[in-house]
């Protein structure tokens, strides 16, 4: 495995310390670049000044990841696939989250196609402050008619700005489609051992990336990629080693993906140094009697292929319950392990809380924070949200791992001076932290500790039915001053 060192890059930089990249000098730019904390293009003189032409070529060669990043599509909807540097995300991070393409084909009726493409366009599920989306549309030629295929491709490209994958083994059909949509850099799928000549020429003519497909035959796959690369000078290639979904062909599939990735990264084999496409949609070649069973297989398969290095996936099911697990797994495995998703500990105001507003406490794992914030935001009144440093882990594991403790809670209270901001002297801790309640009451002396729900979606009910009653009696709505109730029972 090859991880770059700063000196590997520094020698190709202008070495003028011009600071255009925002760093104090060229060496520090090189150091940031190998840690993936700045962008290669930020060394603007290198790209701009003709006198660096030779250096630039070597620089680009040096920073080329073992798995090339391929751009599909144009504009802000374009996706980058591949660009992988390491086998294991803990060695650096995995770049370019696997795009998901939903398929349509040229024998579907217009309404179905429109619905499916709109679904891709509009799909959005917000989680931990980020939007989970679908990224592409794969158009399949089922009719065997180049004209029909072209019509469908044109229709789809009018419906979406997201990148397309044009799927057919017929060079004629592909060319018709490329005439309609080739300017937007679709991925051509696929060159095979039968059609590689014609399809290779199409890729050159329309300047589009091309997938090479050879299911279950890695040596043919490799020689096809080599021919396109060395014979045609094509360098925007995606590899399809085949996705077997039935019986033991699935094990072979995962082994093939791993073997290709290992060859690219550990052996530095440039002929297979390209992104891999996985096709969970292939489960529909052998559907189960129960449609849901096939959908479940597609969901699980998507996550497993992503785990085993698939850089791009083509799926068929358009149900949220099928897609969501895979999308959440994508979000998880592509987070940067060097910077766990967390928020700053401290006090957060939800709305404009006053001294009577409830005080909730939670941990600083980003997911926990966003969920609690969203749920507490649905309360009838503003509230205080105290975030204690749980070392970016969820409450359940932070309590078990002694990372969310009474000390952490009191630290956060002291630092935020929240005691002076609320009068009711009560605090609501998460249900998963129930075992801290006794110790926390001892530490806070005359404060009352409420154990809230385990899942914050129940917080509204809890505040209305328990906290308000216990803290203010039932008089709050009549604007009577808060009662100073002592802990009862």
């Amino acid at each position: 495995m090859r991880i770059l060192r700063p000196l590997d890059i520094y020698k190709y930089l202008p070495q003028t310390n011009c600071r255009e990249c925002g760093e104090p000098n060229c060496m520090s730019f090189a150091a940031k670049l190998v840690e993936d904390r700045t962008l290669a293009e930020k060394c603007t003189p290198l790209f701009r000044d003709p006198k660096y032409k030779e250096k630039l070529a070597k620089y680009l060669e040096a920073i080329r990841p073992p798995v090339k990043a391929i751009q599909i599509g144009v504009g802000h909807n374009a996706v980058n696939v591949g660009g992988k540097v390491v086998m294991f995300r803990h060695d650096l991070t995995w770049h370019n989250p696997t795009p998901l393409a939903l398929d349509v084909h040229d024998e579907m009726d217009d309404a179905t196609i429109t619905d499916r493409v709109k679904f891709v366009n509009d799909f959005k599920y917000t989680r931990i402050g980020a939007d989970l989306t679908l990224d592409m549309v794969a158009v399949r030629c089922v009719s065997k008619s180049p004209e029909e295929f072209c019509k469908t491709v044109s229709r789809v490209s009018k419906l979406t700005a997201k990148p397309l994958i044009l799927c057919s083994y017929s060079p004629e059909a592909l060319e018709e489609a490329l005439m309609a949509a080739g300017a937007n850099r679709p991925l051509i799928y696929a060159a095979t051992k039968e059609n590689w000549k014609e399809v290779g020429e199409l890729a050159l003519k329309y300047k589009c990336p091309v997938a090479v497909s050879s299911p279950g035959d890695l040596s043919t796959l490799k020689s096809l990629a080599k021919t396109l690369r060395e014979g045609y000078g094509i360098d925007d290639i995606v590899l399809d080693p085949g996705t077997g979904t039935e019986g033991d062909s699935f094990a072979e599939t995962l082994n093939n993906f791993a073997a290709l990735r290992r060859a690219a990264i550990e052996d530095g084999d440039v002929t297979v140094g390209y992104p891999l496409v996985g096709i969970p949609a292939a489960v529909w070649l052998s559907p189960d009697e129960d449609e849901n069973a096939t959908k479940i297989r597609e969901s699980v398969l998507s996550s497993l292929l992503m785990t085993m290095y698939a850089d791009l996936l083509i799926v068929h099911s358009s149900d949220i319950w099928v897609l969501l697990a895979a999308l959440v797994w994508r979000q998880s495995v592509y987070t940067d392990p060097r910077t766990p998703p967390s928020v700053k500990p401290g006090i957060y105001e939800l709305g404009k809380p006053d001294e009577k507003a409830p005080l909730l406490v939670t941990g600083n794992f980003a997911l926990t924070y966003f969920l609690v914030k969203e749920d507490a935001g649905k309360l009838k009144e503003p509230s205080w949200l105290l975030v204690a440093d749980s070392e970016a882990t969820s409450i359940e594991s932070a309590v078990a791992g002694r990372k969310f403790t009474v000390d952490k809670i009191t630290d956060a209270m002291n630092e935020s001076a929240i005691r002076e901001k609320v009068k009711h002297k009560s605090i609501i801790i998460p249900g998963y932290a129930a075992r801290l309640s006794g110790e926390l009451e001892d530490a806070l002396k005359d404060w009352r500790v409420f154990v809230g729900p385990r899942d914050s979606s129940a917080i509204k009910d809890f505040i209305e039915k328990v906290w308000k009653k216990e803290t203010y009696g039932e008089e709050l709505t009549k604007q009577v001053l808060p009662l100073d109730r002592k802990k009862s029972g």
């Binding site: 019986g247 033991d248 996550s303």
Partner: protein, 293 residues
């Protein structure tokens, strides 16, 4: 593959509760159901009621219950504690002695327990022990090293790095499982033990069990039907958690939902198969392009 049972049922997601509703009050019947109907390799009995803050069930009573459960099934069992370090040690010691010769698995040893006092009875009574580290490779190393130093053979030690469910810290688990397994393969002896995953933790994710009306964003254009059926979401969540961690080395899984178990078996068996009956090439997966679905 172990299925979780409890001496005192905690709050469970509805689809899970549904599968066990007839046995929630009876741990022996619960264990029997897991093994006989849902084909668990063994049940995992969590003695949560022994926690002094819950019911403070005595070690002797816990040992009696373990005996009842052992009578009900013809498999070994995993004996889980309550998470209270002092009490767990007491319970484990008592149960280890009363089940000498049964070779059970005890879950689990944590850094805040007295390692010597917890490990010794395991050695003397020939039981297996799960060391539980909280997503921290140094903690895992220390636990594995110390319990081996106390005389526990590696053939009786299992490492649990903590499972964050899908979307709830699974990325941490994924990398820690990979790192400990890679270290073992590279020759670090303390880590040359099987890995265990509590995949049941997947149910912490609200996407696994909440109603679509609650999960669906206000501006969602997708029809409500495409969110359901929620009975299937949780099992996918649980099986995905287990399988992903299986791909980076986990070998013992604690699970809950019967459908998750089925899925896990279906894919797990495919992945682990060493001899191919039918090759990928023969299946012609390239035909996906022209399929009429």
């Amino acid at each position: 593959m172990a299925l979780d049972t409890f001496d005192l049922a905690p709050p469970l997601a509805r689809p899970v509760k549904e599968a066990y509703k007839e046995v929630l009050e009876d741990p022996a019947a619960w264990a029997k159901l897991c093994v006989e109907k849902y084909e668990a390799d063994l049940p995992s009995l969590h003695l949560v009621s022994t926690d002094p803050g819950i019911k403070d069930t005595s070690a002797a009573d816990a040992a009696k219950l373990v005996e009842d459960v052992l009578q009900a099934v013809d498999t070994p069992i995993i004996v889980g504690g309550s998470g209270n370090p002092q009490k767990d040690m007491e319970v484990f010691n008592k149960v280890a002695e009363s089940t000498k010769g049964e070779r059970l698995i005890f879950s689990s040893l944590t850094t805040d327990m007295d390692i010597r006092k917890t490990v010794r009875p395991m050695v003397e009574c020939n039981h297996d022990l799960i060391a539980l580290a909280f997503m921290d490779i140094n903690q895992a190393r220390e636990l594995c090293r110390k319990s081996q130093e106390e005389g526990l053979p590696r053939t009786q030690l299992i490492l649990d790095n903590t499972t964050g469910g899908l979307g709830y810290g699974i990325d941490y688990s994924f990398s820690i499982f990979q790192r400990t397994r890679l270290a073992a393969l590279m020759g670090e002896e303390v880590f040359q033990v099987p890995l265990s995953s509590a995949s049941t933790n997947a149910w912490a994710a609200r996407e696994a069990w909440q109603k679509p009306e609650v999960l669906r964003p206000d501006d969602s254009i997708a029809p409500i039907e495409s969110w359901g059926p929620r009975e299937l979401r949780g099992p996918i969540w649980e099986a995905t958690t287990a399988l992903v961690l299986g791909l980076c080395g986990a070998e013992l899984f604690m699970m809950m939902h019967p459908l998750a178990v089925k899925l896990f078996r279906q894919f797990g068996n495919l992945i682990a198969k060493s001899e191919l009956e039918k090759s990928l090439k023969e299946l012609q997966p390239e035909n996906w392009v022209e399929m009429k679905v």
